[in-house]
C-alpha cells in the first residue's frame, strides 16, 4: 500500500495555505524525486529566480525518521546563482521536524510584504511579522526566533537567513539549527527574495506504526543500526569527521591552496583534522535521527579585555569549509579558520563559494586586475583580518565590486578580467583538485557539487583516463545518489544502505515497490531533474573550465586537457540524451493534487 504524499503549500503573498495530496509514490519516491515533481507543478520555468511565484520546496522521503541516517531534507528552488533548477541538501532537525509536522513536503510561494517568519506544526500555521530582524545575523536571529510560534523546544527546527540572504547574494545559504546548512546554489537569496527571514518547523505529531509490518520493520531497523554503530562504515565521520581528508588530499597533491596556485603545502599540519580535534574540538553533535554525530564543533576562545577576560564561541567545522576559508585563502592557523568560519556563518554565506570568491579576488589584486580601492581591504593570502573586512563588505554589498563578486567569482572575472584563474566549475569549486574526471563532474553535475557523482574517487583509480569507464562510474553513482536522496538519506550512510537495504527498508514499512520499480523510478527522476535543469537554461557546452584547472599539477602530473575536453564533450551529450527522455506535463497529463 503506497499512501499519498501530503504537502503543505503556503502562499506568502495572500497569507493562505492549503494541504494537497499526491498519489505519486511510485513515480516520485520522495526527497529529490518529490521535489522535482512539485517544482514542475509550481514553478514558471521562464520567470527569473526572484519572481514571487517561484516556489521554494523542502521535501523529505519515505524513510525519514523511520531509519537511522534518514535525516536529510531536500531543498529545491530556481537558483539565484545561475537561474537554473537547483537542489541543496540540509540536515539538523529539519527532516524529522517536517515528518512530525505531518508533511512530506513544504512548498512556499509568493512574497511577503514585510520580513516574515513562517512557523508551523501539525495543528498550526503562523505567518509572523519579523521586520525588526532586518540585517540581523544568523545567531541573534536564531535566538529571537526561538521565542516565536510554534513553541516546542527540542522538537522543532529553525531555518533562517542572514544579511547575505536578505541582500540576495547568489551564494547565500540557509542556516539550519545553528550548525547545519542548505549551503550551496543560493537558497538563502531565494528566501530573501520572498522576504522570508526564517522558518520554524515544529514536530508535534505522532504516527502509529502498522501492526502488520512492525515485526519485520524492527528487524530491518536493528540490522541497519548494527551496520552503522558496530562496523567501521561510518565511524570516521564521528572521529575526526570530514576534516580527516585534509592531510591525505594534501599528500596526494590534490588540495587546492591559495586559489589553486598549488595543490600541496608543508603547512597542512596547522589546519588538519588532527590539529582541530586535538586543540579546538569541543564536542560532536548529530542530526536528529542519526547516531553518527558527524557535526564537529570547535571552541574559539577570544580575549576581549586587558585583564584575563575571555569570551568563547562555538563554531562548526568540516572539510569543505576548512578548504574554503583555510587552504584556499592560505590561512594556516586553525583558530584563524574558525574566526573566518564564524563570520561566514553569522552573515549567512556559503563557506565554499565565499572562500573561493575571495581567493580569486586576492590573486586578482596581486596581479593588479583589480585595485585595493575596489576590494576595500588589502587582501593577502593568509591575512585573516583582511578577509574579515572583505566578508563584511561582501555581505553588505558595499560597492560595485562586491556586488559583482556577490554573483560569483566568474561573474566578477568576466567584468574585471582574470577569468583564467577563477576557480569556478558551474559554481565555485569544492575542495578536490583530484583531476580531469572531478573537474568535468563538478562543471556538468546536476548540483555542481562534489556530491553529484563522487568523481574525486574515480580520479584516484587506475583507469582514471578511460572515458567510457568514467562515464559509467558517474552514471552509476548518480543513479545511486538519486535513490538515496529520494529516501532522503545522508550520503555518509552509503555503506549501510546498498540498494537492497533501501528496498528492504521500504518493504518493511509496507511500501509496495520491487527492485524494478525503484530502478524505473530513479531513471525517471534522473531524466526529470535533468530536463528541468536544461529547460531552465543549462547549456553544458557553455560551461567554462577556466585555464587554472588545466595547469593543476597533482600526484598524476599535469592535467590532461585533451582527455578532459573529450570527456566533457561526451558527458554533455549523454546528459542531453537523458533529459530528452522526460516529457513535460503540458505534453503529458499533469499530476494534479487531490483535495
Amino acid at each position: 500500500m503506497n499512501n499519498k504524499f501530503r504537502v503543505l503549500v503556503v502562499d506568502l503573498s495572500s497569507k493562505k495555505s492549503k494541504v494537497e495530496f499526491y498519489d505519486t509514490r511510485k513515480k516520485w519516491l520522495g526527497g529529490s524525486g518529490l521535489a522535482a515533481g512539485l517544482f514542475e507543478k509550481y514553478a514558471n520555468f521562464d520567470n527569473d529566480p526572484f519572481h514571487p511565484d517561484q516556489p521554494i520546496i523542502f521535501a523529505i522521503g519515505p524513510l525519514t525518521g523511520m531509519f537511522p541516517l534518514m535525516s536529510k531534507t531536500i531543498m529545491s528552488f530556481m537558483s539565484p546563482y545561475n537561474g537554473q533548477y537547483a537542489e541543496s541538501h540540509g540536515g539538523g532537525r529539519s527532516a524529522l521536524a517536517l515528518r512530525f509536522a505531518g508533511y512530506d513536503a513544504l512548498v512556499i510561494t509568493g512574497r511577503a510584504e514585510k520580513l516574515t517568519c513562517l512557523g508551523f506544526g501539525a495543528r498550526e500555521i503562523n505567518i509572523q511579522d519579523v521586520h525588526y530582524l532586518k540585517g540581523m545575523d544568523i545567531f541573534k536571529t536564531g535566538k529571537i526566533l526561538r521565542n516565536l510560534k510554534p513553541k516546542n523546544p527540542g522538537h522543532r527546527s529553525i531555518l533562517r537567513i542572514g544579511q547575505a540572504g536578505e541582500n540576495l547574494i547568489s551564494y547565500a545559504c540557509v542556516n539550519v539549527d545553528t550548525f547545519r546548512h542548505f549551503g550551496r546554489m543560493g537558497g538563502g537569496a531565494a528566501m530573501g527574495a520572498k522576504n522570508l527571514k526564517g522558518i520554524i518547523i515544529s514536530g508535534d505529531s505522532t504516527y502509529d506504526l502498522n501492526k502488520d509490518t512492525i515485526k519485520e520493520y524492527n528487524k530491518v531497523y536493528k540490522d541497519i543500526y548494527k551496520i552503522i554503530t558496530e562496523s567501521d562504515a561510518v565511524r570516521k565521520y564521528h572521529d575526526l569527521g570530514t576534516p580527516e581528508n585534509l592531510i591525505p588530499l594534501n599528500e596526494l597533491k590534490a588540495l587546492p591552496w591559495r586559489n589553486l596556485q598549488s595543490t600541496h603545502d608543508p603547512d597542512i599540519g596547522s589546519i588538519s583534522g588532527e590539529k582541530f580535534a586535538e586543540e579546538l574540538l569541543l564536542r560532536q553533535v548529530a542530526c536528529a535521527g542519526c547516531p553518527v554525530g558527524c557535526i564537529h564543533i570547535g571552541l574559539l576562545r577570544e580575549r576581549f579585555g586587558e585583564d584575563h577576560e575571555y569570551l568563547y564561541r562555538q563554531v562548526s567545522y568540516d572539510y569543505e569549509p576548512i578548504f574554503g576559508v583555510g587552504s584556499m585563502l592560505g590561512v594556516t592557523s586553525s583558530s584563524g579558520v574558525l574566526t573566518l568560519l564564524e563570520d561566514v556563518e553569522k552573515l549567512g554565506l556559503d563557506a565554499i563559494s565565499a572562500g573561493v570568491a575571495l581567493a580569486w579576488a586576492t590573486e586578482a589584486l596581486e596581479k593588479k586586475v583589480i585595485t585595493a580601492e575596489q576590494t576595500m581591504a588589502d587582501l593577502k593570502f593568509g591575512d585573516v583580518q583582511s578577509y574579515r573586512t572583505a566578508l563584511k563588505n561582501l555581505a553588505e554589498q558595499s560597492n560595485e565590486f562586491y556586488r559583482f563578486l556577490g554573483r560569483g567569482a566568474l561573474v566578477a572575472a568576466e567584468t574585471y578580467g582574470g577569468e583564467d584563474f577563477a576557480c569556478v566549475l558551474g559554481q565555485e569549486m569544492a575542495g578536490y583538485a583530484t583531476g580531469e574526471n572531478y573537474f568535468v563532474s563538478q562543471a556538468l553535475g546536476f548540483r555542481h557539487s562534489h556530491l553529484d557523482t563522487g568523481a574525486y574517487s574515480f580520479d584516484q583509480e587506475e583507469q582514471a583516463k578511460d572515458i567510457e569507464k568514467s562515464i559509467k562510474y558517474m552514471q552509476d553513482q548518480e543513479y545511486y545518489r538519486i535513490l538515496m536522496c529520494s529516501m532522503a538519506g545522508c550520503l555518509f550512510g552509503r555503506k549501510a544502505y546498498p540498494k537492497e537495504n533501501i528496498l528492504r527498508a521500504l518493504n518493511s514499512l509496507g511500501y509496495d515497490y520491487s527492485q524494478q520499480d525503484l530502478d524505473d523510478s530513479v531513471k525517471d527522476i534522473q531524466a526529470h531533474r535533468w530536463a528541468i535543469k536544461f529547460r531552465t537554461g543549462f547549456k553544458p557546452e557553455e560551461v567554462k573550465i577556466p585555464k587554472r584547472f588545466l595547469e593543476v599539477e597533482t600526484w598524476k602530473g599535469k592535467t590532461d586537457s585533451d582527455y578532459l575536453f573529450k570527456l566533457k564533450k561526451e558527458y554533455q551529450k549523454i546528459l542531453r540524451d537523458i533529459a530528452e527522455k522526460h516529457k513535460f506535463a503540458d505534453e503529458e497529463e499533469k499530476s494534479e493534487p487531490e483535495r
Binding site: 523546544p153 508535534d204 505522532t206 524492527n218 547516531p291
Partner: protein
C-alpha cells in the same frame, strides 16, 4: 530493581535515538514525543542537551493524584499504568515535579518511562544506563 538513569547527558549528541527507540519498541509509534525519554536542548543546540525522564520517585507523587488508581507505584520506584482504568484526566502529568509524564494528545493517556531499558543499547554515547536507584556511573561529577 534497576531504573533508567540519564547519567551522562554531557556526552549526548542530540541524535534522538533513545526517544525514537522508546516510541518504536514500547509505544509502537514513530515519534520523538510519544516516548518515555524526551531530549531537548536548553536554549539552542550550543547549550547541550537534557533528558526528561521519570526519576522513579519512591513513593511517586503522580500515583496518589490519580482518581481511579490507574497509576500504581512500581516496585523499586516509578509507576505503571492500568490503561483500562484511566479516565484520561491528565492530573498525573500535572503532578510530576519534573515534567516526565507526557500527556499524549492523540490517545489522551500518560506516556512515561517504564524503566525497561530498551533505549539504553541504542544510545551511541553511553549516556544512559540501567542502575540501582542508589547507584550512578556518571562522568559528570
Amino acid at each position: 530493581m534497576k531504573i533508567l538513569k540519564a547519567s551522562n547527558m554531557k556526552r549526548c549528541i542530540g541524535c534522538y535515538s533513545c526517544s525514537l527507540a522508546c516510541a518504536r519498541t514500547v509505544h509502537k509509534s514513530l515519534s520523538w514525543k510519544r516516548s518515555g525519554i524526551r531530549i531537548h536542548s536548553s536554549g539552542g543546540i550550543s547549550t547541550g542537551y537534557e533528558a526528561t525522564v521519570c526519576l522513579a520517585c519512591d513513593p511517586p507523587p503522580c500515583a496518589p493524584v490519580c482518581p481511579t488508581e490507574a497509576l500504581i507505584p512500581r516496585k523499586g520506584g516509578g509507576i505503571l499504568l492500568k490503561e483500562k482504568l484511566c479516565i484520561h484526566c491528565g492530573e498525573c502529568a500535572v503532578a510530576c515535579p519534573v515534567d516526565a509524564i507526557y500527556f499524549d494528545p492523540d490517545n489522551n493517556i500518560p506516556i512515561f518511562c517504564i524503566h525497561c531499558g530498551r533505549c539504553v543499547p541504542l544510545c551511541p554515547h553511553d549516556c544512559l544506563e540501567m542502575a540501582e536507584p542508589s547507584e550512578e556511573t556518571s562522568n559528570e561529577q
